[in-house]
């Protein structure tokens, strides 16, 4: 507990400083990099939501892409077909995927280990297969292009066709989500998640409802993955059935493993590092996935606790 409190004293100024730097950045970098930063932030949110279910609760879900893709459609379809606002769409991008996560999770958390991995892949595959064949609703693999209406905050209107405003929206949502998740993993609820990860049997014997807590973690992670998907489609003005494919979950897995699972900060660093690496490599190497795959494999073998593990190991 004392160690936690010590970290808190560092955390507040550090978080404030990082947020201030990120908020100031659009005044120093051009539109291309503003878009790039927006994209990194979206994947950061996807990665930390995956970290909750994998890093903290110990469930390896390859099905997060389902919720990510659903979140994209939860914005695109209401805006395009029902004429709703972007703000409503973003709320739906949490609610709809969370609802689906409750359904998928209800069945999935009955299984554990590799069976859980496989059933989440299958659910995502059903989603992407239906998404591609219901082209009248989803636009199929071509996707839906939509204009994002401005969000009215009362005091000011946020024009989402503007790249910088979109960046600030994404930054604010991702920062709040990070604080939300950080608060949660430090709360007694978060300790239960970790207890389940460390020893399911023991957690059950202490008296915790393991299945309920797994489901809860799955639903929260699903809702936040959906929010990431919603922000992604708002920033691209585009949603597609290809986002539903299970392999999209691999992004979150890679960022989380490379950064360090079960740390929240790790996936943020992992996403930033890997995406920057891809960005600089793509100029002289066509196959960035080769590097990503190689980094993933070597981190697993040489530093299974990721960048965070390396940093903490150094300190001890």
């Amino acid at each position: 507990m004392l160690a936690d409190r010590g970290k808190g004293a560092v955390f507040v100024p550090a978080f404030g400083a990082v947020a201030a730097v990120l908020a100031a950045l659009p005044f120093f970098v051009d539109l291309f990099y503003q878009t790039f930063l927006t994209e990194i932030l979206v994947w950061v949110l996807f990665a930390i939501s995956f970290d909750l279910i994998f890093g903290y609760t110990g469930l390896l879900s390859f099905g997060q892409a389902l919720f990510f893709g659903l979140g994209g459609y939860a914005v695109a379809i209401p805006v395009l077909k029902l004429g709703l606002g972007t703000g409503t769409g973003l709320l739906l991008s949490v609610a709809v995927p969370a609802l689906f996560a409750a359904l998928v999770g209800y069945f999935s958390v009955k299984l554990s280990g590799i069976h859980f991995v496989i059933i989440t892949i299958i659910f995502a595959l059903i989603g992407s297969t239906l998404g591609e064949s219901w082209a009248w609703l989803t636009g199929g693999a071509d996707g839906l292009v939509f204009p994002a209406p401005p969000i009215d905050f009362g005091l000011f209107r946020l024009d989402l066709m503007d790249i910088r405003s979109t960046y600030y929206l994404v930054l604010a949502v991702v920062a709040l989500s990070y604080l939300f998740l950080r608060r949660m993993v430090q709360s007694p609820l978060g300790k239960v998640f970790v207890a389940i990860r460390e020893n399911e049997e023991r957690a059950r014997l202490i008296g915790y409802d393991v299945r309920f807590h797994k489901l809860l973690s799955f639903v929260i992670a699903g809702g936040l993955s959906g929010l990431a998907g919603g922000l992604y489609s708002v920033s691209l003005k585009y949603a597609s059935a290809t986002f539903l494919h299970w392999s999209v979950s691999g992004h979150a897995v890679v960022y989380t493993i490379v950064g360090g699972a079960g740390t929240l900060l790790g996936p943020v660093l992992g996403a930033g590092l890997i995406m920057s690496l891809e960005h600089y490599l793509v100029d002289f190497l066509q196959a960035t996935d080769l590097v990503v795959g190689a980094v993933l494999v070597f981190m697993l073998l040489l530093a299974p606790r990721g960048i965070m593990g390396l940093a903490q190991g150094r300190r001890k």
């Binding site: 590799i114 069976h115 059933i119 297969t129 239906l130 064949s133 691999g250 795959g293 494999v297």
Partner: protein, 283 residues
């Protein structure tokens, strides 16, 4: 109609036997090493791509069928010795690790081979009449070769010392160690054999489907379905399931849209996972 149905049944059996080989490799690796090999589809693809290069070089399909799987078996050897050996006792870590290997292999092939799909000419161009349609004899040959390899595998597992060791390790790993079976060597050769089988079926499938760097992605999922429905660790359950699923999909796709058939088979797989996680043919 009758001829359509006959072709669907024939195709279902041929494709089912190819799938059975892939699933057997995946299932052997799972049953012995407890590794869910996400790179299995990529090894299948690697077999087909290697075969394409061999055919470019020599013009002989049968030579490619003999050599390409050996090359991929070598790749499997390197992967097991170099990467997987140290993490074999951690199932979740190996899933992520083989996922990384899959990404790397696919992109490596994309760099060398390019993104366009290529075709391999049928080495046996003879066709025979099936009702009022012509059916390529090559497909019958593919099915026969696949069945022969499976028969060979059965003999290997049941009549040789290595096969006995492998079955022993599956039954009771600790007892096997105590009895002096070189368990790590058995692991290694099982992974090599699994990679070999994946590549072999890749070469067999190459003249039927087109060869490209993503061809393993859908196959991986099919192989998963088969292994789970047939029972993890139950090799012959995989063979029966492969042919069964392929027949159902082949014949079913005459009557319903392919995506509907896919969704139904995926839904069926969820049902099996929840109700009979040991598989339809498991004890």
């Amino acid at each position: 109609m009758a001829s359509n149905l006959a072709v669907a049944v024939m195709n279902g059996i041929v494709w089912g036997l190819i799938l059975a080989l892939i699933a057997l490799g995946l299932n052997m690796i799972f049953g012995l090493l407890h590794i869910i090999n996400m790179a299995h589809g990529a090894l299948y693809m690697l077999g087909a791509v290697a075969a394409w290069y061999f055919i470019e070089l020599t013009g002989n399909y049968w030579l490619a069928l003999g050599t390409a799987p050996l090359v991929v078996g070598g790749v499997g050897l390197a992967l097991e010795r170099g990467l997987l050996r140290t993490i074999e006792d951690k199932p979740l870590v190996t899933i992520i690790c083989t996922f990384g290997i899959m990404l790397a292999l696919q992109q490596l092939v994309l760099m060398q081979f390019g993104g366009t799909a290529r075709r391999i000419a049928l080495p046996i161009s003879f066709r025979f009449p099936l009702f009022d349609l012509q059916y390529p004899a090559m497909r019958i040959a593919i099915a026969a070769i696949s069945a022969a390899v499976m028969a060979g595998l059965w003999v290997f597992l049941n009549k040789t010392r290595y096969g006995l060791w492998m079955r022993g390790v599956v039954q009771d790993r600790e007892m096997a160690v105590a009895l002096g079976i070189p368990v790590h060597k058995v692991y290694m050769w099982t992974f090599v054999l699994g990679s070999f089988l994946a590549a072999f079926s890749g070469v067999l499938a190459a003249p039927i489907v087109s060869v490209d760097f993503m061809m393993g992605r859908e196959i991986l999922i099919m192989a998963f379905i088969i292994v789970i429905v047939g029972g993890m660790g139950n090799l012959w359950g995989s063979v029966v399931t492969a042919v069964m699923i392929s027949l159902i999909q082949g014949v079913g796709s005459i009557f319903v849209v392919p995506s509907t058939a896919t969704v139904f088979s995926l839904g069926f797989m969820i049902l099996v996972l929840l109700v009979r996680p040991q598989g339809l043919f498991g004890e």
